[in-house]
Amino acid sequence: MPEFTVRSDSVDVEQIMEQIRARIREKRGVDYTEEQIRELAAVKLEKFLDPRGLRSDLLDQFRRVQKEQAPPAPPNYAFEDQTLYESHRGLLRWIRRLLQPVLKLFFNPNPLIQALHIQSQLNTLNAERETTRRGLDQLQYEVLHNLVVETTRMGIEVRNLKMRVESLTSRLEFNERRARALESVVVYKPSVEDQAVEATPAAPSQATPPGLSASVTAAAPSAPGPGQRSRRRRRRRGRRGDGPASAVMAGQPGSGEPRADGPAPPDGGDGRGEGGTGAAGADQEGASPAGDVHDSGFDEQ
């Protein structure tokens, strides 16, 4: 939830409302009126987003259009070897058959008959293919229809997820801001040990481990603020909890137990860096008043 900038006891509701409206404008991008918003929302839902608003009768419509626009079946004919001499009059048919050898004296009709016969067969085949294609078209439209529905559903889901992500992002931002705000207002209550440390300012130099650099050592005595100390403590607690509980209980590497023989860290430090095995500094914190000072120098890095 975004924060409001009016921070006083005497709130001004008009100012708050202005901020609310500004946020709404920011969210929706363009300053539409409420009616326009509703209209747009309705249009989108009807035409694109709402699967129920889709043309679920797409296939039926296609079939109807197909029926309306389908070309008539192509004309075909049967052509056999006797087709040229066929007639419904028996006498005429007899005369033609009688004179067939005379005709063949002038030209050879056989190739013509054969060609037309093949063409007839081709026409039949083409018609069958056309019928098959139409059936396939219907299947393709069904697939297309299903795809549109699924895409629409996915679109809605994506939109919902986006909104959820936005919501979670805003919550996360709010929590981060809140955490930062809380960190800044934590009041440091000096413990007895801290007071003892402050009373003996020479202690840090004595307790500085040999691995620390000069700059670190120099920075250590400077009195850190209470917020810094509390932050450091939280970090240390976090480090302690790095390993799994079983490992902690078993005292294995990474468990937070101090290891005298642990591998040296690559940076040449004292082995208490992030992910390091030792938590000596942290463990020292409660044991030795100088522990705070050591850690101060380390954390200042």
């Binding site: 939830m1 709130v11 409420e34």
Partner: protein, 479 residues
């Protein structure tokens, strides 16, 4: 000082806004003056059926004189006449017939007022739109003081009422918006007036924990108190609250208190508790994070005042000028115009505790300074004391002649109301100083909304018109 309080219904069991307003005023003024309540025997505002016995009785120490209602309301006739006078050109006679059909028509009450007007110093009439107020004001003349409890509904556009607003001795308004509307309607700026309103007996130590335990309410919640009715904007409230739930950014539950005339959406975060006692109601308001007021038409909203008295912020419908004005004057409530603003405002109050607490503090202060009983009583007594010095008043204007009354020269009420200025009247707190007699009241700041134009979104068009403008029966104005 002897005062008559004239109201359409009266009784401890009657919870209508104006009726409750009248009872509170009568009971509190009874400490300072002799009060007699003049009312009808009706208890049902839809039928006006005679249910109480006629005669004198005492209710909470106040003398109540009841008169029989001459005839019950005929819903069909009333609906037909409402359609005529609200939406068509008509005559004064039509409006008088509409008034008679609306009721509660009690001729004995008017006769009593005419005969015994001089027995009272002043007669305080509640709810201008009913029979008793119109004819009663005409019967008692300059002794009439009117508490109009007017809302921006179509009845305000009838032409029989402006003479009444000009003819009374003084007007006690509920809000600056009401005053601006009536002055725009009737040009009665020279009639003494004061914005008073009414208070409520809010317990000083409500028990929010007891409420939560009794009704098993956990977590933060927004409360709505009142009749659950489409006319009160509850349907829209359900839609908007659903949007809030879908947004998933908040944890508020909506708790509804009151009798329901609407189906309540079935959702675990919408709880309907029905009608509750005053103690439970105040406990609920004290336990709530905020009060929601979705109504489009209010002349004051006592519930909002009660929430403020308990230090709770209010989220009001910005389409109601009075509620928006009250929120702005008090700095104790947010208002919404549309679903997006509802969700955002609700979320803002929920997630920013400092806003809620600052609004609540402002509300408590606003109530204490302007609506606490000593303030209300002082305003009434001051006005009556000033008026006592001079009994002369304008008196009611005579009705037009027989032929003039029947001439269809009155415009439809909806046209008249559409021309009224809109918007909250002023950010300043309600005036506590009445105008001196005879001199014009200092005008309130002009409403900010300007005149309604046909292109503007009219609150009387669309969804609300059919409910408010037609034959839908209604109770008094102050709710």
């Amino acid at each position: 000082m002897k005062l008559a309080v004239v109201v359409q219904r009266y009784g401890e069991s009657i919870n209508g806004g104006a009726e409750l307003h009248a009872r509170y005023i009568a009971e509190h003024l009874a400490r300072h003056a002799e009060i007699e309540v003049l009312t009808t025997c009706a208890s049902d505002y839809v039928t006006w059926r005679n249910e109480f016995p006629a005669g004198v009785e005492r209710t909470n120490g106040v003398a109540v004189r009841r008169f029989r209602v001459s005839h019950e309301r005929d819903p069909l006739l009333f609906g037909r006449l409402s359609g005529l006078v609200f939406h068509q050109p008509h005559s004064v006679a039509d409006e008088l017939r509409w008034l008679d059909a609306e009721g509660p028509a009690s001729r004995p009450l008017i006769d009593h007022l005419a005969k015994h007007a001089t027995d009272y110093d002043f007669c305080i009439f509640f709810s201008y739109r009913y029979y008793h107020a119109y004819h009663g004001v005409r019967a008692v003349g300059p002794r009439a003081v009117l508490v109009p409890t007017a809302e921006r509904d179509l009845a305000a556009g009838l032409s029989i009422f402006p003479p009444i607003f000009r003819g009374v001795r003084a007007l006690m308004y509920n809000s600056p918006e009401e005053r601006a509307m009536i002055q725009a309607l009737s040009a009665n700026g020279d009639v003494p007036s004061v914005v008073v309103g009414v208070s409520s007996d809010v317990p000083s130590a409500p028990q929010p924990g007891r409420f939560r335990q009794k009704f098993g309410i956990r977590g933060p919640f927004a409360v709505y108190v009142g009749r659950i009715d489409e006319n009160k904007g509850c349907k829209e409230l359900f839609d908007f609250f659903n949007a809030y739930l879908q947004a998933g950014t908040g944890r508020l539950t909506l708790v509804l208190i009151g009798n329901s005339l609407l189906p309540i959406p079935s959702h675990p975060r919408i709880r309907h508790l029905g009608f509750l006692s005053d103690a439970d109601k105040f406990d609920a308001m004290a336990a709530a994070d905020l009060l929601v007021m979705p109504s489009y038409f209010e002349s004051l909203s006592m519930v909002a005042l009660e929430a403020w008295a308990l230090g709770r912020p209010v989220l009001a419908n910005a389409c109601c000028d009075v509620l928006k004005g009250q929120c702005m004057r008090s700095n104790a409530g947010l208002y919404y115009d549309g679903q997006l603003e509802f969700v955002e405002a609700l979320t803002a109050i929920e997630h920013n505790r400092w806003i809620a607490s600052a609004l609540g503090r402002n509300g408590r202060r606003f109530f204490r300074e302007h609506y606490d009983w000593p303030v209300i009583e002082r305003k009434y007594l001051d006005v009556l004391a000033r008026l006592s010095g001079d009994r002369r008043g304008p008196g009611a204007e005579p009705l037009p002649g027989w032929f003039e009354r029947r001439r269809r020269s009155c415009p439809p009420a909806e046209d008249v109301v559409a021309r009224l200025p809109t918007g909250p009247a002023s950010v300043a707190a309600p005036s506590s100083t009445p105008s001196s007699q005879g001199r014009p009241v200092s005008p309130v700041a002009p409403p900010t909304g300007g005149e309604r134009r046909p292109g503007n979104r009219s609150r009387f068009g669309g969804r609300q018109r059919s409910h408010r403008g037609g034959s839908a029966p209604r109770a008094g104005g102050t709710s």
